[in-house]
Symmetry: C2
Subunit: 326 residues, 2 copies
């Protein structure tokens, strides 16, 4: 496969004064004595020998490629996650095969099929398919979604995040709370944000109301609900938890248009920890997902698959972004 005058493994063996087998071992990561490895590496460097990773893929049955199946890069959370996953894989000597599904489950299945055809070493997926079947032959780690018990799922601690949002709002003086949640109908880690929030409210005996919408709905019912609960320019609730930063920003914008002051009259917390690229500030007060740690954990569990627990939830933290009093 080396073209033209490109050096071959034979050239490297000759230059290093070792056998072809030794060169092959070094290239394929099979243990050889350290002096031999050094000789081969020096010779390869001197000759400008480039390992043909495709041939290498066939030989060792490793491709050093991991498929990343992502819904989109237009949402900053997915872009941030893909950035961290790719950077992390590169540090481990692996490459990212990026696949974009546009939230379409047919496209997702197609991506999984393509990934398997490419004989990649593994898949890291953030999937929106409720019924995705995963081939046993390829290791898979999911982010935020459970496929089956055997497949590790890495997420932020969504339940704790919900609790933390409620506790923070109460700590900042809120007496009547509201939960807005929109998301896919399939069961996923992300759904735990609501129950976490509600549990913390019940524990503290603080009244709350919840409004749940499916991903297929428009958000209009949220704004209608808010409108119905504004009397004499005052909202009945003084603290709102939205299950994403995007929703929190839209809720803030709506309330401000109704003349309600944030955070003076109502305090709002979102979820994700999105940072505005222009101002480099959180776009709202938020429960921050530890994106870098999630990427690192997903990569580590994929590469050293053994003994992976089915579920890895990583700690979250609160960050103020101007929509709470602190």
């Amino acid at each position: 496969m080396q073209s033209g005058n490109a050096p071959t493994m034979k050239d490297v063996a000759r230059e290093a004064g070792v056998s072809l087998g030794t060169v092959s071992k070094v290239i394929n990561d099979i243990p050889v004595g350290e002096p031999y490895r050094k000789k081969v590496e020096a010779a390869a460097k001197k000759l400008g020998y480039q390992v043909n990773n495709y041939a290498r893929g066939l030989k060792t049955n490793k491709t050093y490629c991991i498929a990343l199946v992502m819904p989109s890069l237009r949402h900053p959370f997915f872009a941030m996650l893909t950035d961290e996953l790719t950077s992390c894989l590169m540090r481990y000597g692996y490459r990212s095969l990026l696949m974009i599904t546009n939230y379409d489950s047919t496209a997702e299945k197609h991506c999984f099929m393509l990934a398997q055809q490419n004989k990649i070493d593994g898949i890291i997926a953030l999937s929106y398919s409720p019924d995705l079947e995963v081939d046993d032959s390829v290791p898979v780690v999911t982010i935020d979604r459970h496929f089956s018990a055997g497949i590790p799922c890495v997420s932020s601690d969504n339940y704790r995040g919900g609790e933390l949002a409620a506790q923070k709002l109460m700590e900042l003086g809120c007496k009547n709370l509201l939960l807005f949640r929109i998301g896919p109908d399939i069961y996923g880690e992300v759904e735990k944000r609501g129950p976490g929030f509600e549990s913390a409210c019940r524990m503290a005996k603080v009244p709350y109301q919840s409004l749940f919408l499916s991903d297929d709905d428009t958000e209009a019912p949220f704004f209608q609900f808010l409108e119905e609960h504004i009397q004499d320019g005052k909202l009945e609730f003084d603290g709102i938890f939205c299950n994403s930063d995007g929703l929190a920003v839209r809720v803030c914008e709506f309330l401000r248009k109704q003349g309600i002051r944030i955070p003076e009259d109502v305090q709002i917390i979102g979820y994700d920890g999105i940072i505005d690229f222009a101002t480099r500030r959180y776009i709202c007060s938020t429960i921050v997902q530890p994106v870098a740690e999630m990427a690192e954990t997903a990569v580590r569990f994929l590469l050293n698959g053994d003994n992976a627990p089915a579920n890895i939830s990583l700690p979250v933290r609160f960050a103020s972004g101007g929509t709470t009093r602190e």
Copy 2:
């Protein structure tokens, strides 16, 4: 390479009632009679035969993989571009090998080396290295940066974008213009935004001032300049063009803190066409880069490399985002 009971090319040949050679030709895109191709495809589909693209890569010397070398996905323009490039490559039956350089030129060179080792079919790069050497053996298309005359560079029409910003500001009544530009010192398409703006001002005989900073500088001199040109709560300029939306947003924020109203007192136009993910609106009035067309063009020129002009500039348009009167 087929594992377990997976069907092999032999199984497909038997099922289709054709020779192994015919199956191989179909798989490797070598012309065969249409009836044979159909028979093989039907048999492959029936048996669930999956092409081993690594073996295919070795056979036809094609990997159906294109490396995307990107500085980061934390900037929404790069994320949007990577999203469009990957989606477009998938439509053409190709996959994206994503590499993140974090604006580091050493990392960029490393990415190019890795890409070549992987024997990919091509590279699409948005590079920040002034002295990147590109191996002739792999087709390369760049976005926004020139490497050498032989390599096509796809960009938005930056010069026209600068002109358009000046013309729009003048059309909206501005009489005294200001240009803020920050960017890398290396020569690239992006640098033409400034000259385009200045040329349109000169043509219309409208006075303007320009302030240029290097990518390595902080933006503090811009804000100092603005402060020095505010007298009695009034800025000396009534129209500002910033060479990115991020800078435009920061300039707006600074001026508003000084009590200056936007767009009533000063109108501001940025460049890129960034849409806020939460509100789905442009983050400022802006010159919109045609990202989808840029991705499509880069992919097309990479895949059908012949007769590619060295430079492909795609039309831009103005979009209002609340920082101009219209």
